[in-house]
């Protein structure tokens, strides 16, 4: 690598960095009683990133890059960019998150844990037709070096569990998916398996006996998972530097767009053991810091990489992330939350005359113009403050970010987190999101006409 960094001037390059990643990944899947290893990967590779004539040129390879790779990276590119070499002091850092005893177990023992969980679920939740349990772990070793002299090493695990159950009663089908992940050891040691069982049972019950609502605007209370996906999908993406510029949020800096009850932030790591969007340092070698995106309803700052930090005149936030060594870094979220309030969830629910409690989302999507849509995995009708029947499958909720933020008028102190993968520009990175229960005066819940 020193040869590459020492050769930059001779090739007209102003700056270069090299990301070196080694990952071992294991996925064990139990599909209706049959166990198998689905993924058993051991990969290493490099991404060389070179600044030439104002734009970055990347080259990824599976063996250590040499001068020929530097020449090839330099040769393929478009002229006329506006980036300049970062004016930063070299950063030296080393982060190591221990694996914990569970992850160090052999595959056979992990298979037994998966088998046990299946037995518990099948014994506890009736009417399940098919059950798929997937255990996945990735052990990351990431090194970042650059021509300024920075060198950062990060070692951390990600251990995750996905349980997907399909139940049937007569002609009615229900599906329940539970997804949890941790960077703090072995998910079977960290997650509350009893709570997972109870949620699966509850979701299935709500769908089997649920109804599809007439599509219109309702008063809605979102539970922590649903709050999290709203915060991540409907707002978080708009606050990523590139999308803030593309959309409308950049122009609203300093403006109040929500009640003072609402504050939203993104963090490099979170204390919660089920928050698995670990990004102590990002893929540009920047040490991550908290980003207060919305502070008491006022747009305060945005998630950035070095380019957008320079553009906005702020210190970089450490949000430059790449899926792996094959992908270029782009601005991504990490661990994104609406902050706690003071009310209780019971107060929020009991205040709704005719509306819905949405506990569990089923993915979502938003545009840079602020239109969003989420699927609903678990929800209940509220009538005069009391919970009634559940929601059938295939119901979603949709709206516009600014309008919906302005409609939040209650925030609880009860709080929860969830981890998942976020997709952007064809790349998937691990993130977490969550928050309290929130009450929204009006939100479209889609069912039948």
């Amino acid at each position: 690598m020193d040869r590459i960094f020492n050769s930059l001037g001779g090739l007209g390059a102003d700056f270069a960095s090299i990301r070196h990643e080694k990952t071992t990944a294991l996925t064990i899947k139990m599909l209706d009683g049959i166990l198998k290893v689905d993924v058993n990967d051991n990969t290493r590779g490099y991404m060389l990133k070179v600044l030439v004539e104002g734009s970055y040129r990347y080259r990824s390879v599976v063996r250590a890059p040499g001068l020929e790779d530097l020449r090839l990276a330099r040769a393929f590119g478009i002229r006329g960019g506006s980036d300049s070499a970062p004016e930063t002091r070299p950063v030296k850092g080393a982060v190591s998150v221990g694996l914990g005893g569970g992850i160090e177990k052999g595959a056979e023992e992990k298979m037994l844990d998966v088998k046990d969980l299946r037995k518990r679920i099948m014994g506890h939740v009736k009417k399940i037709k098919t059950l798929t349990i997937t255990y996945g772990e990735t052990i990351f070793h990431k090194e970042y070096s650059d021509s300024r002299g920075s060198h950062i090493v990060q070692d951390f695990p990600r251990s995750a569990l996905v349980v997907s159950a399909v139940a049937k009663e007569g002609n009615v089908i229900a599906t329940a998916v539970e997804h949890c992940a941790t960077n703090r050891g072995y998910i079977f040691d960290v997650a509350d398996q009893e709570a997972i069982l109870q949620r699966i049972k509850r979701k299935i019950g709500s769908q089997l006996h649920g109804r599809s609502p007439k599509s219109k605007e309702y008063e809605v209370v979102l539970g922590p998972s649903a709050t999290g996906i709203f915060c991540h999908e409907a707002f978080g993406h708009l606050a990523e530097g590139d999308l803030a510029q593309e959309g409308f949020l950049l122009g609203m800096k300093g403006k109040k767009i929500a009640d003072s009850l609402v504050s939203i932030a993104d963090y490099p790591v979170m204390p919660d053991k089920l928050a698995a969007g670990f990004a102590m340092y990002d893929d540009e070698g920047v040490k991550g810091r908290a980003v207060d995106i919305l502070e008491r309803g006022v747009v305060k700052e945005f998630m950035t990489n070095r380019h957008f930090a320079g553009k906005f005149g702020t210190a970089p936030t450490g949000n430059a992330r790449a899926e792996d060594f094959r992908a270029p870094d782009i601005v991504r979220m990490r661990n994104t939350y609406i902050k706690r309030g003071k009310m209780s969830k019971e107060e929020l629910i009991s205040s709704v005359k005719d509306g819905y409690l949405i506990l569990s989302p089923n993915g979502g999507h938003t545009t840079s113009e602020g239109t969003f849509q989420f699927g609903i995995g678990e929800g209940y009708r509220i009538e005069r403050g009391e919970l009634k029947e559940g929601l059938r499958l295939g119901v979603g909720m949709s709206g516009h970010t600014l309008k919906t933020l302005a409609m939040i008028d209650g925030v609880s102190k009860d709080f929860g987190v969830r981890s998942a993968f976020c997709g952007k520009n064809g790349q998937a990175v691990p993130v977490s999101f969550g928050g309290p229960y929130i009450r929204i005066r009006s939100l479209k819940v889609g069912g039948h006409a």
């Binding site: 990824s60 380019h307 006409a449």
Partner: protein
């Protein structure tokens, strides 16, 4: 680097069936967002080894083919559960030899790729958000102890452009246009012109003026709505497990046909053999309005005691699953499907569809009404239904067909969905 044949023979002598999947990719890419332009070249390799003995299967992958990979696969095999359906496809049907689906060579296309990109991002009457161009050559090899020895070299060129209209207080939803082919197009005019037309259609936004009983999906919207649902609904695995809304011989009560066709000319989804080295063939999923077939890889064909359909899809990182190739829709053709209609081009929430029931609830982000007075955009229309509703509800199709998205279709007029 180890010798493939030598290691296959080593594994055979130890009583294993073994299959090595090798993926080598050379690629070039240029991308632009509102601020920056970045370019990338890469050369990556991946090796996936599957071994089977006494009904137990082991799998391991890496970016190099080395002894450690073989040892990990054997180790995984020893801990696996026995299942008599674990077996490699038999040699009699396996592909042998090399084939090419190569529209261009990566070493010669750097200048053409750059030129295409420069034309793609030339100023338009719209606000350009992002653009990318990617060119790749892939070489896939599959070698097994059961006689499969197949190699295919292919090329793929894709480009996308994303823009909206931003002026004063007006900000329209972004619209993306995309093209993909095994050849490099002469220029990006088709997608640039299409983008400008569509953004022009949604500049003026109105509320839905009346009730609509039908909706016209553009090819992009068709692919977004049904690709994932068709792949799941017509999976032999899901049929066997009873988690698909489709049934054998189900009558959809119309006359459409839906074919899984791996030979569509110039499509990046076309292949000569599947992820297990089995020669591909066309599979009619729906014929004349009746469900006709499902897709299987070797494992699920054995489990369901049916003939396989050579529908294994995979990357080197994992074992084969079941996958579609190109989905070709055949329906009654009309010249002006979109006259006096609600037309949907972009939707949010396709990935939130429930794959077990086939149900979806999607929100339009780019839609317009084709009225007598011209086009007017409509916002936030919710379309609710299921894959069965969609396929049953196809009334007609426009004659101009697009192949870029893996679904070969024109505009589709569909009735029977809930539109609010």
């Amino acid at each position: 680097m180890l010798d493939y044949d030598h290691e296959m023979n080593f594994l055979r002598r130890r009583g294993y069936q073994a299959e090595l999947y090798v993926e080598k990719v050379d690629s070039l890419q240029i991308s632009k967002d509102v601020e920056t332009t970045a370019s990338q070249s890469s050369r990556t390799e991946g090796y996936g080894l599957r071994v089977i003995k006494d009904g137990r299967v082991g799998y391991a992958s890496s970016c190099t083919f080395e002894k450690a990979l073989i040892e990990r696969a054997i180790g995984a095999c020893r801990t696996a559960q026995k299942d008599k359906n674990n077996a490699l496809p038999s040699s009699g049907r396996g592909a042998r030899g090399s084939s090419r689906n190569l529209g261009f060579g990566i070493r010669d296309c750097a200048d053409r790729t750059k030129a295409f990109f420069e034309q793609l991002v030339e100023p338009l009457n719209v606000n350009l958000n992002s653009a990318f161009v990617a060119a790749l050559n892939a070489e896939i090899s599959i070698i097994s102890t059961e006689g499969v020895d197949a190699k295919e070299r292919s090329s793929a060129f894709s480009a996308a452009i994303d823009a909206n209209y931003k002026k004063g207080g007006t900000l329209t939803p972004p619209i993306s246009e995309y093209c993909a082919s095994t050849k490099i197009p002469k220029n990006p005019d088709r997608i640039r012109n299409s983008l400008e037309e569509k953004i022009d259609a949604v500049k003026r936004q109105i509320a839905l003026p009346r009730r609509f009983d039908e909706v016209v999906f553009t090819p992009k919207a068709v692919a977004a709505t049904i690709s994932g649902l068709v792949a799941s609904s017509f999976s032999g695995e899901n049929l066997f497990r009873g988690i698909t809304p489709m049934k054998e011989r189900l009558d959809l009560r119309n006359s459409i046909s839906l074919i899984d066709d791996p030979f569509v000319k110039d499509s990046i989804f076309s292949r000569n053999f599947d992820g297990e080295g089995m020669p591909k063939r066309k599979i009619p999923l729906v014929l004349g309005g009746k469900v006709n077939g499902f897709l299987y890889n070797t494992y699920w064909a054995r489990k369901a005691s049916v003939v396989g359909t050579s529908s294994a899809g995979r990357r080197y990182l994992s074992t084969p699953h079941i996958s579609t190739s190109n989905l070709v829709i055949l329906a009654k053709e009309e010249k002006n499907v979109a006259e006096d209609s609600l037309v949907v081009d972009e939707l949010l929430g396709a990935h939130t569809s429930d794959l077990t029931t086939g149900r979806f609830s999607l929100t339009t982000s780019a839609a317009w009404i084709n009225g007598r007075g011209g086009r007017a955009g409509v916002k936030g229309v919710v379309l609710t239904g299921s894959i069965n509703d969609f396929l049953s509800g196809i009334e007609s199709m426009s004659r101009n067909k697009i192949t870029d998205y893996g679904v070969v279709t024109g505009d589709l007029k569909v009735k029977g969905l809930s539109i609010t």
